[in-house]
Symmetry: C2
Subunit: 556 residues, 2 copies
């Protein structure tokens, strides 16, 4: 019998050359494993789009072969697409993660009515288990949510190490320090491929420990004369834990404002990741009569999201919380690229209402990143000494910088693997090479529709957003083509002042043109084109604008 | 004879509580002076808007009383609104500035066909002159364009000092170092009010000298094996000057790509602000055959603007320039807030084409700001010792930080003046106080229309952008109300997959409802509402989307 060829395929469905929708597929023989299934938040130009998820076609077509989904940690860009994926798979799938990870996933799946498709399995850190040809090990790492893990996959083609999101925090707040010896041991075993987070490689040195935030927050809360309002990511359980501890230290009670944050705190407390003394966290109503010095408010909105609690507080539009002069607001987060304007506007509005607002980098150490900087990424490369390295969780320039770093640590230039979304990376005992592409990409979620927003729809939305729409309605006799009514020319989102004159001129010019037209059976395409040409050129010559022109021809 | 009351009014028309459209009015008796008339670049949510300019109504209504416009420096956020203002004033106005400033303004006014309204007057730095009750002095300062000036206005109510944009560059590249003694002398005279740039107050310390860029650029050009492509703001004459000098030093010839940059270099060279050795700056065509090591390209697009030269080069879409592997691209600029995504996308695309891309802060010192950091702002306060201080050129939080700084240097808390756009700040020999508001705000420019885009238009554009538009056309008999044709329901920018089924169901439901309707004369409002209600609720229940629904009712 000929020896069967050992081949694994690694297929990133997202998260390479982009920030967000992290998801990787691993295929060996008949078995598929998925690592993470995250969402991406849409750029501004994706008008109206709520979320972007990976195109899961490849795995959905092979749904029966999917052994399990392994989750590194419970951030939206790693788990947010699970509900959509499960709905598409339409079958029950084992989902593995450390205990808090599966704990945080559960209510989200419940909300989407897909909990029945999930077999949620909590894994303890050091445990090893097998899934078909794959040997799995979860290695705890530090990040901004507890129970974050790297995942080691041992397979017939070698050992692959997936970092998830990580940093080396030597004094972490909610976990043990990174087990560098364990990492070195795994390196000693021989790592074929390291797939590493690279999003923060542009920063030199190491990311500061979460511990520096403890000190900074402690000082702020100690000094504050009034209420302290702290905002951070709803998922940043570690930061929330620190804030609650410090509040307790200075005899402040804590109200949590913002649904996602309340939910995460509930789950984390229930699973033992947050030790909340009795009567410290209370409903906001209970604090209405409390002296300002005894109040802390934890709230969502650290990115200035327009509908978030903090943004509404800043606008004076929140049903419960109003800013009182003397309030100290701590923005314990940095803007995700693209959110700079919304967050600075929120800061400005909070200040206009009399709050003192502390934000990075003006006030240092009130936020630290959960991601490894360059020297930590280098340390991991040096501990694991992989034969091949592949940057993930980064945009293209970050992947390029990671390549430079990997080469510095001894990985040969041609063994740094660059994969784009959908690329098939073939791993054999002999080496790693590209092997074509599978269908993959972005699927846009808008309201209840998944995939209904296409490039054509987006192009139309962009056009409509730019200069609005002009509607020209006429009624013609079906047989003679005679103009029975109209043209009525109206507009929305075009221009106000001066528009009526342009539109009236357009209607008059159109009417003359249509009346001149030889009478006969209606040619729909001809009429459409005529209306667009006449109105379009008149409007452009007078305004230099190109609204979308929609002819409405009714045949009677 | 009763002593007449001395009152000056200072009215910011823009630039306070916002970045951009810097413009201040100064009024004394019958005389008006304007300092700067800048534009603001629209935020993303101002769909389709090209530019934002100040509402100049107050000065336009008093056009005959406007003595002059004084310009601090030739950046768009200080001069970009001049063409619109001059058109509205409809009369010739003296415009004063240092020589390069008026030199750079001239071609812009010419392009807008308003040069006939401008009496451009170049001022030499130390010169003093009078305009009615105002004594004017231009004080040269360092900034990223040569011939930037602060403006001192002496008036019967005291001396006012307007910084314009400035930093204290002790080793400037294209000007003499700041004359601190002159500033101290002005302080000795007594300054009633300091209106200070505050945009960079969140940065501690001092802004590095432009000189550090010289060294960094020199090293890069020295080491580069291939072509060097440098991008910066088209108006950053100082940076361009350095790049050209360094190119000459290493025997590279320079091609300039990007119309605004070519124009600015022409003006600066003609007026003696750029000393270009013969045959160093040449058309790009002349460099096609040149060895890569002998080529430098200067290009616009440092903000990743989609239609800019660099962005098109990055997309492989530029008519002249294509990236060759081995090219070094230097991004000698930092993103203006809001532009982070476009510039990182440009960097990624340049790297995908094989360029090595150097950008801040990953590569340090290839850009420095033209604005004063906190310690420089403090130094100016200490030199001038103003009785009152008013932060301008900043958002609200920056104004708040400036207030803290002014108080630190000895300005009493209640003498730090906060003005919003349109506020009248009344200055008398006795003191400074608020005195109501005048009509002021933002006017939106879209194509040829100025002010045609209103809040209603923007709201409609936002609505259209979000979920698209659904058009429901029916024809009814004018007298009987009988449905003659339709409903025809079509959509644009809505959703693709699944849309036809929703729209067909909508049409059918609408048809039933309209046919059930008691026959009689057409009630237009009733039909409109009916169509919107029926379609809107069906679409929302099936998709959770709310497209704009436009009924088109034709009466025959």
């Amino acid at each position: 019998m000929a020896k069967e060829k050992k081949v694994a395929k690694l297929i990133p469905l997202g998260g390479v050359g982009e920030i967000g929708k992290n998801s990787l597929l691993l295929e060996y023989g008949n078995d598929l494993l998925m690592i993470d299934a995250g969402v991406m938040f849409p750029e501004e130009e994706l008008h109206g789009v709520d979320l972007v998820i990976p195109d899961f076609s490849y795995v959905v077509e092979r749904a029966d072969r999917l052994r399990a989904i392994l989750i590194t940690h419970a951030h939206e860009d790693h788990v947010g697409a699970l509900p959509y994926l499960l709905k598409q798979l339409g079958r029950k799938v084992p989902i593995y993660g450390l205990p808090l990870t599966v704990g945080l996933i559960e209510p989200k799946l419940h909300e989407h009515h897909v909990l029945r498709y999930a077999d949620l399995i909590g894994v303890s850190g050091p445990e090893r288990f097998s899934l078909g040809p794959f040997g799995i090990e979860f290695v705890p790492v530090s990040h901004s949510v507890p129970d974050s893990a790297a995942i080691v996959v041992r397979s017939p083609v070698g050992t692959m190490f997936f970092t998830g999101d990580f940093k080396f925090d030597q004094m972490p707040v909610a976990s043990t320090p990174p087990d560098l010896n364990r990492l070195r041991e795994i390196g000693d075993e021989g790592v074929k491929l390291l797939c590493s987070d690279c999003v923060r490689i542009e920063r030199p040195g190491v990311t500061p420990s979460e511990r520096v935030v403890t000190e900074a927050l402690d000082g702020i809360v100690h000094d504050a004369k009034g209420r302290v309002i702290v905002t951070t990511f709803a998922s940043n359980i570690i930061r929330l834990r620190q804030a609650i501890e410090i509040a307790g230290r200075y005899h402040r009670r804590v109200a949590v404002v913002g649904r996602s944050m309340e939910q995460n705190i509930d789950v984390a407390a229930r699973l033992g990741y947050l030790d909340i003394p009795e009567n410290v966290v209370v409903p906001f109503e209970d604090l209405k009569q409390a002296p300002s010095r005894e109040v802390m408010i934890l709230t969502t909105g650290s990115q200035g999201e327009p509908t978030s609690a903090l943004s509404r507080i800043a606008m004076g539009d929140h049903p419960l919380v109003r800013i009182i002069p003397g309030d100290t607001v701590v923005i314990s987060a940095t803007p995700i690229p693209g959110n700079e304007e919304t967050i600075t506007r929120t800061i400005d509005n909070l200040m206009r209402r009399g709050a003192s607002v502390l934000y990075p980098p003006v006030v240092p150490n009130i936020h630290v990143s959960g991601h490894a900087s360059r020297d930590e990424l280098r340390a991991l490369l040096e501990l694991l000494r992989p034969a091949y390295a592949m940057p993930v969780h980064g945009e293209y320039r970050q992947m390029v910088h990671y390549k430079g770093l990997a080469v510095e640590t001894g990985v040969p230039q041609d063994r740094v693997v660059f994969a784009e979304v959908g690329d098939v990376v073939q791993v054999t005992p002999e080496g790693i090479s590209h092997d074509g592409k599978v269908r993959a990409g972005s699927v846009l979620v808008d309201g209840l529709t998944v995939g209904g927003v296409t490039q054509v729809v987006l192009r139309d939305r962009r056009h409509l957003a730019e200069d609005g729409v002009v509607i020209a309605a006429i009624a013609v006799d079906r047989e003679t083509g005679e103009l029975l009514s109209g043209p009525d020319v109206t507009a929305r989102g075009f221009i106000a002042a001066g528009a009526s004159s342009v539109l009236e001129q357009g209607a008059a010019r159109l009417k003359r043109a249509l009346e001149r037209r030889p009478v006969g059976e209606v040619e729909y395409g001809y009429l459409n084109r005529k209306i667009k040409d006449i109105l379009g050129s008149l409007i452009f010559s007078q305004t230099r604008l190109r609204p979308m022109i929609l002819p409405v021809v009714t045949e009677i």
